[in-house]
């Protein structure tokens, strides 16, 4: 590539606008900045929560106060002032507390329309039910009545606390206890909204369930909490999407997702994460600090995590699986793309406890600009996990010579019958490939998108159709011109 050509391209990509960076002008009830027990009580009060949940929050908060932020990630983390964040922002404040459906501000409907997530059921994508969460509150959940007929519960977690307290109490914190880590403790203390899914025994959920997370209000953090329980012989495919406005401050998104998979049940969880990544100088952007874990409790249960991570200034996220049930199978498919000054430290943990358990890890990192992209993964095989198998493949693709790709694989195998395989490659897009595309009339930027999508194909193929197209476009847009 000629030097000046390269520079123009780098310029072009830096100037590329983040498509979802707009803000919604809506009256939002934001509590004062700062974090203490009173704030925790206030959040719980605003949500009209029962005593046990307030206790859970307070225990988590007290424990969190004893912890320090983890520093082991390959990340240059900006200092977070936890007293300078508002922990609750309710854009539905006009409607009655508790977020009753129906009386939704048209501005909110417009926002989700603009994001391509129509909340009118007649306009909605067929075959997909959506829970739309803005800031701390679920705005609307579609198709709930239809799902209810099959016994499927799909609603915001706040509502689940009120309507299905026994289920929530049974499972909340059972996969990710509040003592798990710093951000998990924080989330457990102040979590706001997210989705709750319960699929009863033997039911195959007939549509994709999805939650769309949107940060809107300034100076706030978002503390998503999602809980999915898939009972014996049941099946669900769940999707999650995320965007945020462009701001020059860092915004915190500290989430917990817990999944419980019972006997012969199967859960597919897909994420397309496109939080605002910050500007080309690395200013602003969402800090995406997430604990996601699934517990494969039942025999022959199955869980797959598929993630396409293109956004956020910092991503710290390890969707993990605890394979307790004999014969259970877990998969982790990941594409993490970083550009400009983005940093990602992401991967998975596969904890094999049951016999004949099997896990697969396919990770594709793509680094451009001055970004840093790390895969971090743990494969652990317990003493009793006879016949456990793991296959891991971690590929890194570099665009340019100022970015970094890192791989930190950990293995801890305590059972002699286990078979654990790990493969890793690092490559660059070759000039020959780009020129070949150019000669066929494909401009450079499209060529990069095409080649990167080809590189990530094994993972993109795992996404549900509607999401795959979206993810492909996203990879193209996030990388346009990032050649060097």
């Amino acid at each position: 590539m000629e030097k000046n050509n390269e520079q123009t391209l780098i310029q072009e990509i830096a100037d590329k606008k983040y498509e979802y960076g707009f803000t919604t002008d809506v009256k939002t009830d934001i509590i004062e900045k700062g974090l203490n027990e009173d704030v925790v009580r206030l959040i719980s009060y605003k949500k009209g929560e029962p005593e046990w949940l307030l206790d859970f929050r307070l225990k988590a908060f007290r424990y969190w106060q004893t912890l320090k932020e983890p520093t082991w990630g390959h990340l240059n983390m900006p200092e977070i002032d936890y007293q300078d964040i508002s922990y609750y922002a309710d854009p539905t404040a006009k409607s009655p507390v508790g977020g009753k459906q129906g009386d939704i501000d048209p501005e909110l409907m417009k926002t989700f329309d603009k994001l391509g997530i129509p909340l009118e059921e007649r306009m909605a994508l067929s075959g997909m039910a959506v829970d739309a969460v803005m800031d701390s509150v679920s705005v609307k959940t579609t198709f709930r009545e239809r799902l209810k007929e099959m016994g499927i519960i799909f609603c915001s977690i706040s509502e689940a606390v009120r309507e299905h307290p026994d289920l929530v109490r049974q499972y909340l914190g059972s996969v990710v206890p509040y003592r798990d880590n710093f951000f998990a403790a924080l989330n457990s203390a102040v979590f706001s909204d997210g989705s709750f899914v319960y699929i009863p025994k033997g039911v195959r959920c007939p549509m994709e369930l999805s939650t769309y997370f949107r940060i809107n209000a300034r100076g706030t953090g978002q503390f998503e909490r999602t809980l999915i329980v898939c009972d014996d012989d049941a099946y669900v495919s769940y999707l999650e999407g995320c965007t945020a406005p462009m701001r020059d401050e860092n915004q915190l998104h500290a989430a917990i997702v817990e999944i419980v998979v019972m006997e012969n049940a199967e859960v597919k969880y897909s994420t397309v994460q496109n939080w605002y990544p910050g500007d080309k100088e690395g200013k602003g952007g969402v800090l995406n600090l997430v604990t996601k874990r699934g517990h494969l409790r039942g025999r022959n249960s199955r869980l797959s995590w598929t993630q396409v991570e293109t956004g956020s200034a910092i991503t710290w996220k390890y969707p993990s699986c605890v394979l307790s049930g004999d014969g259970s199978q877990a998969e982790f498919y990941s594409v993490a793309l970083t550009n400009n000054f983005q940093q990602a430290d992401t991967g998975t943990k596969m904890i094999h406890l049951g016999k004949n358990t099997k896990s697969t890890i396919i990770s594709k990192g793509i680094s451009a600009g001055r970004s840093q992209n790390a895969y971090r993964g743990l494969v652990k095989v317990g003493k009793h996990a006879d016949g456990a198998r793991n296959y891991s493949s971690c590929d890194s693709l570099l665009l340019g010579d100022k970015c970094g790709a890192h791989t930190f694989p950990y293995m801890d195998v305590q059972n002699p019958t286990a078979v654990v395989e790990h493969e890793a490659t690092t490559s660059k897009i070759s000039e020959d490939q780009l020129f070949y595309c150019n000669q066929r009339g494909i401009p450079l930027e499209d060529a990069v998108g095409l080649i990167v999508n080809g590189y990530a194909k094994d993972v993109l193929n795992k996404l549900p159709m509607e999401f795959a197209a979206e993810a492909q476009k996203l990879l193209g847009v996030s990388l346009e011109g990032a050649v060097g």
């Binding site: 000039e431 095409l450 999508n453």
Partner: protein, 248 residues
């Protein structure tokens, strides 16, 4: 159609082409013959705008446009196609996606809407038959796992899809067995139209027997030292390039 005037070019500071003059009119097939290192591939790379080569002097006009001022993809949109000597593999990118991207990029440049999916698939089906590629082609990654012969057939297939007005075959015959050579050459001939032209680069007469070029040029040490009719290929086949070395 194509007019090259006093073209000098170098790679990594080393001068390879030393004043090339070449005119290809509508409907003509020209052959360019010469030994390894004579500059044949350099010339084809410069026509398609490979960034590794630097033009130090001279001009190339293509249908009245200054070709050297155009980006590689613009040259492609204008109707120039190169059948690569060593087609590169692009893992994970299906021929379907690749061809659609290429075709739609060209249509966009022409102010046309993207090609409808059904029409595209029909075109893929039709055109792959020209070079006897089977239905698996559409979902195979670009050139990945293709045999040498398949790669060259795939090049001609792409030519059939993109319908260029000026095609360069850069040693398309190298590494081909007799059957593959026949398929490639007959495929190319089927695609010829009265208004399309081509430049065929080769060492051997074999391919030219099929393609029947109108004019043959001999390139030695960066210069065209001899131009003639089909008889030139026979002269080279019989007596090699040395006769022209002396001539120059």
């Amino acid at each position: 159609m194509l007019e090259i005037r006093d073209l000098h070019a170098s790679i990594n500071g080393k001068e390879i082409l030393k004043g090339i003059n070449l005119t290809v009119n509508d409907g003509e097939v020209h052959a360019l013959m010469g030994q390894n290192g004579a500059g044949k591939s350099t010339l084809s790379n410069i026509i398609v705008g490979h960034p590794a080569y630097e033009v130090t002097q001279g001009s190339i006009m293509f249908n009245g446009q200054d070709l050297l001022a155009m980006a590689p993809e613009e040259r492609a949109h204008a109707g120039i196609f190169l059948s690569f000597q060593q087609p590169v593999e692009i893992p994970g990118v299906s021929m379907n996606n690749f061809m659609r991207a290429a075709l739609n990029a060209k249509r966009k440049a022409q102010g046309l809407e993207p090609i409808p999916a059904t029409e595209f698939l029909k075109l893929m089906r039709e055109r792959r038959r020209i070079v006897e590629l089977d239905s698996k082609l559409a979902n195979r990654s670009v050139n990945e796992g293709f045999s040498g012969g398949e790669k060259k057939r795939n090049e001609i297939f792409q030519m059939a899809m993109l319908e260029p007005t000026f095609t360069i075959l850069d040693e398309t015959d190298s590494g081909l067995d007799v059957d593959a050579l026949r398929i490639v050459a007959e495929g190319f001939n089927k695609l010829r139209k009265p208004e399309t032209s081509a430049l065929v680069i080769t060492h051997y007469q074999r391919l030219l027997d099929y393609l029947k070029p109108d004019i043959i040029h001999v390139l030695i040490n960066g210069q065209i030292v001899h131009t003639g009719g089909p008889e030139v290929a026979t002269m080279i086949e019989n007596e090699g390039f040395d006769q022209f070395v002396k001539e120059s």
